[in-house]
Amino acid sequence: MTVEILARVQFAFTAAIHYLYPPLSIGLGIMLVMMEGLWLKTGNPLFHNMARFWTRIFALTFAIGVATGIVMEFEFGTNWATYSRFVGDIFGSALAAEGIFAFFLESGFLALLLFGWNRVGPRMHFFATCMVAFGAHFSAVWIVVANSWMQTPAGYHLETMSGELLAPDHIVTPADLTTVRAVVDDFWAMVFNPSTIDRLTHVVLGAWMAGAFLVVSISAFYLLRNRHLDFAKASLKVGLGFAAVASILQMISADFTAKGVVRNQPIKLAAIEGVYETVPRTPMTLFGCVNPDTGTVFGPKIPGLLSWLAWGSIDRPVVGLRQLPSDAFLRAHHPEAAQGEMPAIRKSYWPNVPLVFQFYHAMIIVGVAMLVLVIVACLFWWRGWLFDTSLPLTRWLLAALVFSVLGPQIANQAGWFTAEMGRQPWIVYELLKTSDSLSRVVTANQVTTSLVLFGLVYALLFAMFVFLLTRKIQHGPDPEEDSKEMPESWKALIRTTPRA
């Protein structure tokens, strides 16, 4: 395999494993804030006891998130040195800001969250929990800013290393890469590039869903097993309520995000929807498969739906891949090419259509399934059936909720694969190609070695994580944690109790 493929596989693998954890930290972080907040507000010890149990789950996910996260920061330099040289002036500041604003906040207050119960009062502890959750969100902000800049670059210009300005339409060639770089000219235009807000909202809601459904899943498990009932009911209520809000908002955010892709990255949109021909009343394929040789998509379609979702009008067509990228773009990038070569050259600017089509549709299908599930569960709750485990229907629903934890994880992963593979062959959209961004001094053997190394370490790590998480769930909250009373042993530890 080529270094490019190996380096991409390595980045995808380490990022995918890493991304199992931060959404849980972000989502569970918010859940912890709600639980402790409810405790401070109502004085009901049940909420305090709940927060204690979920803090331990939180600690487990957080530690692995940090450990796997350091890798990501190193990999830009180790595997993508040419990219780092080219965009360091812009991309580096977002990463540095993440470290200095978000990571220190998170890790500092995490100490109080995990070990501070008997060292600070409940208000201070609540404040620490808020800061950890805030830090986790803030880190999402900076990393999504950095990634969105790669999707929709803004607020920069190209110049030579010696500082000579280049024309805005300068086309970067591989020969340029030792002498040309992108530099920031408007920091806030870079931060708030055209896709930042949409994508940040989408990512954060995905993380909220990951945390909420983890709480829902574990609570449903206890209800089915008839264990820790008070604890499970209260946790399920908090988790389900939050999951419902996040799932509904996520649908709205998905619509905004897709509309942004239509405008900013039309090739990506055409690829993920499998649109080859430009036709009025562009249909949307619900699921199916793409034949890249013929440019056809097999599967049930709703006529005009894609046009309506993209433009708000069923008559306006969504531009298909046969017209993308535009002729003007191709002529500018390949002035030497003969007209007959254009179709093949055009294809080289498309991502892997069958694959991104599947990732994107997996995300949509799972997302809709989560929404349906959460609505059904809320109906059961409203009718008073949700906790009545003698009903067969309730048992089926709870069983589905136990497995619901996988849903957001699958959708989050599939979404990132759509976003990143859909941007190919570009690493920075229509500016720098992935194949030109590798480290010049790193060989395929070196990448293979490190890939095997990470494969082994991450496999072990993931197995251990699943094992310990299952053990923690099996063990459940301590007997004193699932009661409605504040345990005697903790009363002494809490210096002051909140007003009831």
């Binding site: 940090v66 500041s93 540095a96 100490a111 001094v441």
Partner: protein
């Protein structure tokens, strides 16, 4: 009005971040390296919990240092990280292993489980310290760069005796620093054990440090020339030796906190020695000195350095404030409770 030179400011700031990392993660890497030297489970738990609330934050100094290097000196970041490919991959794996070992170890009671994670914690800490030292050694010695500032050496070339000696010196430095930290955190039987280690570790470290300095004068000719031109570096080195010798004195008087502060100061002085001698280089090229990366040809634009300075001016005081408050909240001897590791 003379505008301050942003490149120099960022040379100092990146230095401050990496010094913070060495000073803080240094002691928890050191505690890790010493973990297997105590046998009792209770003692090993004390070791883990002494760093429990803070190791995570300490590692953030590395992440932020890396981020700042990327932002301020992208050329240096790209050259070093791609050039040191395999050593850095090993460093990452070691750091991962020790981080999860801390989290996993005490979750189960089985002897084999705890033994496995103790070894992972200790080996991970040891290998991390060694590799950080080896990387540092290569930077001091200079690495071969081509005209495009790309690394032109080999993996085995990085494992030269000089850099390995720097690696061993770093392991001993962190172990000494960790042991001194432990004297603040432990009491009774364990304190006696740990206090017994301190003088020996100081001896080992100083021996290695002298050897390393001698070797530097032989192996790295430019150092002597630079130091001749900047004689104040001698003062810093002398202060460094004095402050290390002050450590046993403070321990003897039972002032563990002062001993720890001395050890921290020693780290700062060592980094200062390096920074003052190395300036204005970021990555020295050897033998082709003309291909070196300096704080000028490796840097981002003045605009980015300015933006980053604003970010740092807002961020650093906050970071110092909550780092200090966390250390204050968790001051004093470590005790094992229900929420401990």
């Amino acid at each position: 009005m003379m505008l301050p030179d942003l490149n120099i400011i960022w040379y100092i700031l990146v230095g401050v971040l990496f010094t913070g990392y060495a000073m803080l993660d240094g002691f928890d890497l050191g505690v890790g390296a010493l973990q297997l030297f105590v046998r009792k489970d209770e003692h090993r738990r004390m070791f883990l919990n002494s760093i429990g609330p803070v190791w995570d934050g300490n590692e953030v100094w590395l992440v932020t240092g890396g981020g700042a290097l990327f932002a301020a000196f992208p050329q240096a970041y790209a050259t070093v990280f791609s050039g040191f490919y395999l050593p850095f991959m090993l460093l990452l794996c070691s750091l991962i292993f020790r981080a999860v070992a801390i989290e996993f170890r005490s979750k189960e009671d089985w002897t084999w489980w705890r033994q496995f994670w103790d070894v992972a914690f200790s080996a991970g800490s040891l290998v991390s310290s060694l590799l950080i030292g080896v990387a540092m050694g290569n930077i001091v010695r200079g690495i071969p760069l081509d005209a495009d500032h790309e690394f032109a050496g080999t993996f085995l070339g990085l494992l030269n005796p000089y850099s390995l000696l720097m690696g061993i010196t770093t392991v001993l430095l962190f172990a000494m620093h960790g042991a001194i930290y432990l004297t603040m955190k432990t009491e009774g039987e364990l304190l006696e054990i740990v206090s017994g280690w301190v003088p020996r570790l100081i001896g080992f470290f100083l021996a290695s440090y002298f050897l390393f300095n001698l070797y530097t004068l032989v192996e790295v000719p430019w150092v002597l020339e630079t130091v001749r031109a900047r004689p104040y570096v001698f003062l810093v080195v002398a202060a460094n030796v004095l402050i290390v010798l002050n450590i046993p004195r403070e321990i003897h008087k039972g002032r563990e906190f002062h001993a720890f502060l001395s050890s921290c100061t020693a780290m700062v002085l060592m980094m200062a020695t390096f920074g003052l001698t190395y300036f204005p280089n970021m990555v020295l090229s050897s033998p082709e000195i003309a291909n070196s990366l300096t704080i000028y040809n490796a840097a981002s634009t003045q605009k980015t350095l300015g933006i980053m300075l604003i970010i740092a001016l807002i961020g650093v005081p906050l970071v110092l404030a909550y780092t200090a408050s966390i250390y204050w909240v968790f001051r004093g001897k470590t005790t094992l409770t229900k929420s401990s590791y």
